[in-house]
C-alpha cells in the first residue's frame, strides 16, 4: 500500500512538472504573413488601417469631439504640438494583426518628427521614423530605426499613404492609411 502511494506521488510530481514545462501558458494567435519578395532582396508587406473604424485614440489639444469619447487629454502647454494616435492595423486580408502608435510632433528645439511603432504580438515590433515632408502630395517615406524579435536585425523603409475611399458605399470607411514595409536583413561579415 505504502509503495503504491509513493509511486503515485512520484508519478504526480513528474506529471505536474511535465505539464508545466510543455503545456504553453500563452498561445498568441497568428495570421499567415503575406509577404512579397522584392527584386533586390528583402521582403515587402502591406498593412492598412481603416479610418475611422480602427482608430483607438486621437490625442491632441483642443479637440471638440475627442476620440475615444470621454478622453481627457492633458492640456499642458508642452503637449500643444504633439499629436498621438493609436490604431489597430490590418493585413491585406483585412484581418487585425496588431496595434500601431503614431506620434507627430513639431518643435523648434527638436524639429518636426513623425514616428510609427507597429506592434504585432505574435511577431514583434518595428520603430519607424518618417520624414515629415509629403512626397508628391501623396505619401511619406521613413526608415526602420529598430525592430524586435522578427524585425530585429533588419533595415529598410516604410511608406505611409492615405487612400480615400471612392466606393461610395454607406458602410465603407472614409479611407485608409497604407503602410508598405520593405525590409531586408543587415549584411554581416562572415569570418
Amino acid at each position: 500500500m505504502f509503495k503504491s502511494l509513493m509511486a503515485g506521488i512520484v508519478l504526480g510530481a513528474v506529471a505536474a512538472v511535465t505539464a508545466v514545462y510543455f503545456v504553453p501558458v500563452v498561445d498568441q494567435h497568428r495570421e499567415t504573413s503575406i509577404i512579397a519578395v522584392t527584386k533586390n532582396g528583402g521582403n515587402t508587406e502591406l498593412f492598412h488601417i481603416n479610418v475611422p473604424m480602427d482608430r483607438i485614440l486621437i490625442g491632441a489639444s483642443g479637440q471638440s469631439n475627442p476620440l475615444p469619447p470621454g478622453l481627457e487629454w492633458p492640456e499642458d502647454l508642452q503637449f500643444a504640438n504633439i499629436r498621438a494616435e493609436l490604431f489597430k492595423i490590418r493585413n491585406v486580408r483585412d484581418v487585425v494583426v496588431g496595434i500601431a502608435s503614431r506620434m507627430a510632433a513639431s518643435s523648434d528645439k527638436v524639429g518636426d518628427s513623425i514616428e510609427w511603432v507597429l506592434h504585432l504580438p505574435a511577431r514583434g515590433s518595428a520603430f519607424v521614423m518618417m520624414r515629415p515632408e509629403i512626397i508628391g502630395g501623396v505619401h511619406r517615406i521613413g526608415h526602420l530605426r529598430a525592430g524586435t524579435r522578427e524585425f530585429d536585425g533588419l533595415r529598410g523603409r516604410v511608406t505611409e499613404r492615405w487612400v480615400p475611399d471612392t466606393s461610395g458605399s454607406e458602410d465603407a470607411p472614409e479611407g485608409r492609411f497604407e503602410l508598405l514595409t520593405e525590409f531586408v536583413g543587415i549584411a554581416e561579415d562572415i569570418q
Binding site: L5, V26, I56, P68, M103, V110, E115, V117, A122
Partner: protein
C-alpha cells in the same frame, strides 16, 4: 483495487505538492536592485501611475478585471491582439513635474515558463519628451514575483484585496544584465542606443479591479554613441 486508489491519491498529492513547491520557490524572489544603480552615466528617471484609472487611455480585451478607460474606448477583442494591453500616460520626473507622454503596449509572451518562475510579457514603450526627443524601449518583463507576492495574497485574503508595500524590477531582458533596450528616435536621443530598467511599486491590489495604488518607474541610462550597447545585446 485499494492499490489503484492509493496510486491515484498519491498522484494528486504529488502533483499538488510539486505545484506548491514551484510557487513558493525561494530562489525566485523579487529583485529590488537595479543593474543601473551603479552606473556612472547620466540617468533619466520617468515615473507614471500604473493604475488604469489614472491613465489617459487604457484598453484591453474588455474581459479582464481591469476595465478600459475611458469606458467607450475601442477594445482589443480580435484574436491577434486579445492578449495585448495599451496604456497611454503622462510621464513625470523625480520632482513629479510632467515631462512627457508615453505609450506602453504589452503582450503576453509565449516564452512564459512557470517552471522557471517566469511569467513573461513582451512590452514596448513609445515615449516623447517635449524639448528633448523621442525614445523606443523594448523589454521583456517578468511578473512572477508580482503575481506571487501581490496578486495571489489578494485572492487568498477574505477581503479580496492586498495592502502593503511591494517594490520590484520587472525588466528581465533582452540585455545581458536584465536591462531593456532603448533606441533614440529624435532630438537629443537620435542615433543613441541606451539601456533601461522598469520597476513597479505596488501598495493596494483588488481582486475586483486590479491594482488600485501602483507606480511605475523607468530608469534610462544615457550613453553617448549609437552602438555603445551593441556588444551587450549581441551577447544574447
Amino acid at each position: 483495487m485499494k492499490y489503484l486508489i492509493m496510486v491515484i491519491i498519491g498522484f494528486f498529492v504529488g502533483a499538488a505538492t510539486t505545484i506548491v513547491l514551484m510557487f513558493f520557490n525561494p530562489l525566485a524572489s523579487a529583485n529590488p536592485l537595479s543593474p543601473l544603480a551603479v552606473s556612472d552615466n547620466e540617468l533619466i528617471s520617468l515615473n507614471y501611475s500604473a493604475v488604469a484609472g489614472d491613465a489617459i487611455v487604457f484598453t484591453n480585451n474588455g474581459n479582464s478585471q481591469v476595465r478600459p478607460k475611458p469606458a467607450k474606448v475601442l477594445q482589443l477583442w480580435e484574436a491577434s491582439i486579445r492578449h495585448t494591453e495599451v496604456l497611454v500616460t503622462v510621464l513625470t520626473n523625480s520632482r513629479n513635474a510632467v515631462v512627457g507622454l508615453g505609450v506602453k503596449i504589452t503582450s503576453d509572451s509565449e516564452s512564459t515558463r512557470l517552471i522557471k518562475a517566469e511569467m513573461l510579457v513582451d512590452s514596448i514603450w513609445h515615449i516623447y519628451l517635449p524639448g528633448r526627443g523621442s525614445l523606443f524601449i523594448e523589454q521583456t518583463e517578468n511578473f512572477w514575483s508580482y503575481a506571487r507576492e501581490v496578486i495571489a495574497p489578494a485572492y487568498w485574503s477574505s477581503a479580496d484585496n492586498w495592502k502593503g508595500v511591494w517594490n520590484g524590477n520587472t525588466t528581465a531582458g533582452p540585455g545581458a544584465l536584465g536591462t531593456a533596450r532603448v533606441i533614440g528616435g529624435s532630438g537629443e536621443f537620435s542615433n543613441r542606443q541606451m539601456a533601461a530598467v522598469e520597476a513597479l511599486s505596488a501598495r493596494v491590489y483588488s481582486v475586483e479591479s486590479g491594482p488600485l495604488a501602483m507606480d511605475g518607474h523607468l530608469t534610462i541610462e544615457l550613453r553617448s554613441e549609437d552602438g555603445a550597447l551593441a556588444s551587450e545585446f549581441a551577447a544574447e
